[in-house]
């Protein structure tokens, strides 16, 4: 194979693995409770799922507060400073134990087996600055230590300016700007990827190869600016653009944080447009949201080395993601029920990778569907059941077969992955969740049995996961 093909293939593989290895992150932040003086249940059904009030708190820029402020005004009484006397800090700890249904082979040369269980202590430890920064400006900045990387890095971040006006007919209009590092992290509903189910999941399992770009593949490696309006707390519209803002990527000549060159992978050319429209209707204890969201990413595969860089020029890989989502919530004092669903369709035009021989097709497609039902009794005992499915066109370059030990490969080049997640939750306190979660795969990387060509079945990648999740 030509070196360029290896580079192209490696970069796509790296892109896929970057999603596969990234544990979903989703949090609730006690510093918001300290700032507002309101209990978790005001903004969350059970963390991190937001209530309508929680969505409006976020849309209004995380700025609602009841803390004593350090203030300053100018001669026209315009606020120049409004700073809480204590910084809005919070901590989150996840401790977990994971049992894979079947252990993994050790290496290509050995058929000895790994341990099936993995303890994460911590799996994740995060520190947040989450709260008001200035009049009409708020932030949710998360720094995370994760046991897989063994380092501390930037996690989900959302900086906002927001304001609202009362229209003549007593309706409200919220408007704002978000600077964020993960498409949909700024979204208000839990049916979109960044804050979607599963809210906590293991980082010691085998993850499937295929994922759409908007489904977390570019998280923390992009910077976006989006503007949004929300009319009457019902109709929401947002438009924005994203650029690459990669972490730990150095320019090989200067050793500085940029500019990005051919050693970087999957670099956005120009800007990637992002759009979102949603409508939320409330009646009695019911709340229903229907929406669409999407983005188009044109990526240079890059991924070369300093000795053999892959130029960030010429053809690109274009990913057009368009998704629909739905969220229904029923919130009573005793019983809470929610249903969330999304379907993301991705059309790929892989001119760059195809020209380099890294994909079998010039065009591919991928569709991910998730449906989640959740019930809680008194915010204390609950459970969720979720059906997930990813299907798409067969492409032996994109979803490659590999030698032993397989596991993360696909024998037939098909991305189909389907399964279920069921979990039970107990919250002794509103800021502490104990989760027992089971994940079952009926299909994995295109097959049910021997999906990797090395004898592993989809069901072997199922797992049981115990998570203790504390935020304070």
């Amino acid at each position: 194979m030509h070196p360029a093909q290896w580079i192209q293939k490696a970069s796509i593989f790296q892109l896929l693995l970057s999603f596969a290895l990234a544990a979903p992150v989703a949090q609730a932040v006690p510093s918001f409770a300290r700032q507002t003086g309101m209990a978790c249940e005001a903004c969350h059904t059970v963390f991190p799922e937001l209530t309508h009030f929680g969505r409006m708190f976020k849309a209004n820029g995380y700025t609602l507060d009841n803390l004593k402020q350090v203030r300053d005004i100018d001669a026209t009484k315009q606020e120049m400073l409004s700073l809480a006397t204590l910084p809005p800090l919070a901590v989150m700890v996840q401790i977990s134990d994971t049992w894979l249904n079947a252990p993994l082979p050790d290496s290509t040369d050995s058929h000895e087996h790994s341990q099936a269980g993995t303890v994460g202590f911590p799996q994740q430890l995060s520190i947040f600055y989450a709260g008001k920064v200035a009049p009409h400006v708020g932030a949710m900045i998360q720094l995370t230590y994760a046991n897989d990387s063994g380092t501390i890095g930037i996690d989900n971040t959302d900086l906002r300016y927001a304001n609202n006006v009362a229209l003549e007919n007593e309706q409200s209009l919220i408007y704002g700007i978000s600077l964020n590092n993960n498409p949909t992290v700024q979204d208000l509903w839990n049916s979109t990827p960044a804050w979607g189910f599963p809210y906590g999941s293991s980082n010691a399992v085998v993850s499937p190869l295929a994922a759409t770009q908007i489904d977390g593949s570019l998280a923390q490696n992009v910077a976006g600016i989006t503007g949004y309006v929300m009319w009457n707390e019902a109709l929401y519209g947002e438009l924005g653009v994203y650029r690459s803002a990669q972490q730990a990527q150095l320019n090989p000549i200067t050793g500085a944080a940029g500019p990005l060159d051919g050693t970087a992978s999957n670099v956005i050319t120009g800007v990637a447009p992002y759009g979102r429209v949603a409508y939320e209707r409330q009646w009695q204890r019911h709340d229903l949201e229907l929406g669409v969201y999407g983005a188009t990413f044109k990526l240079f595969p890059g991924g070369g080395t300093s000795g053999a860089p892959a130029a960030l020029s010429g053809p690109v890989n274009e990913f057009k993601d368009l998704a629909e989502d739905l969220q229904y919530q029923y919130i009573a004092d005793q019983h809470l029920f929610s249903l969330a669903a999304t379907r993301i369709h991705e059309s790929m035009r892989l001119d760059a990778s195809f020209a380099a021989g890294a994909t079998a097709n010039r065009s591919d497609d991928l569709t991910t569907t998730r449906v989640i039902g959740t019930y809680y009794f008194r915010h204390k005992f609950g459970g969720s059941i979720s059906r997930f499915s990813t299907t798409g066109s067969t492409d032996a370059g994109l979803y490659p077969a590999g030698p032993n030990p397989g596991v993360i490969t696909s024998a037939n080049g098909n991305p189909a992955t389907k399964g279920w997640i069921a979990e039970l939750n107990y919250l002794p306190w509103l800021n502490t969740k104990i989760t027992l979660q089971y994940t079952a795969y009926t299909e994995f990387n295109g097959g049910s049995s021997n999906y990797d060509g090395s004898g592993r079945n989809a069901s072997a990648n199922g797992s049981t996961y115990l998570l203790v999740w504390v935020t304070f």
Binding site: M38, A39, A42, N66, Q282, I331
Partner: protein
């Protein structure tokens, strides 16, 4: 003795003047209150005080003095039912006296509307209890304090058009003293569960 009387008299006059001043609402305060009501309170209490969920009370047309007393109770953390702790203690904490008066004024001026009509026989039974009491159980007529049409008699709240489930939850809060109001504790203790539901269903069905 005369001096003490004089001091008391002066104090009373000053207090009355302060109260009178606090009740005055200028245009700027009115606009500020409207902005808070539309931009923040409406997220739970609905547009113009017509909340969707019975978790949150309807505020449209509520008696202004009652609203002031409740917002002050939230701010002072003396109203102790669960939702007061979870939501309103924090929400009311930064409100100034002037803003509280402005918000009470805003909601008292919103037009109340009748809630969904429940079972007719339940409404009829509830109306009877509301107007005449459940004398066998020692329950006095609610109308005596809340008005014949349940529109409120300051400082007692308007109940007409309120969510039935919210009313029942408050009655239970009076029963177990989470809301510590002696009169309502006595009344709610004597109310049978069925009567409670009947009265709440009747009150929800009332409009202006």
């Amino acid at each position: 003795m005369t001096n003490r009387l004089l001091i008391n008299l002066c104090t009373a006059i000053l207090f009355a003047l302060r109260l009178a001043h606090a009740d005055e609402i200028d245009a700027a305060s009115r606009a500020a209150a409207q902005r808070i009501a539309v931009g923040t309170c409406a997220s739970c209490h609905g547009p113009q005080g017509h909340s969707f969920s019975p978790k949150f009370p309807v505020l449209a047309g509520q008696d202004a003095k009652y609203m002031v007393s409740q917002l002050q109770a939230f701010k002072a953390q003396t109203r102790g039912d669960a939702d007061a702790l979870g939501y309103m203690w924090g929400m009311a904490a930064p409100l100034s006296d002037q803003t509280i008066v402005g918000l009470a004024d805003y909601y008292s001026r919103q037009t109340p509307i009748a809630g969904p009509r429940g079972d007719s026989s339940l409404i009829a039974r509830g109306q009877d209890i509301y107007q005449h009491g459940a004398l066998a159980d020692g329950v006095p007529p609610c109308a005596a304090c809340h008005g014949a049409n349940a529109v409120g008699m300051a400082p007692n709240p308007r109940l007409a058009g309120q969510h039935a489930q919210y009313l029942m939850k408050q009655l239970r809060s009076f029963q177990n003293n989470m809301r510590n109001i002696a009169v309502m504790h006595g009344v709610a203790l004597k109310l049978q569960d069925g009567d409670m539901e009947a009265v709440a269903t009747y009150l929800q069905s009332l409009g202006q």
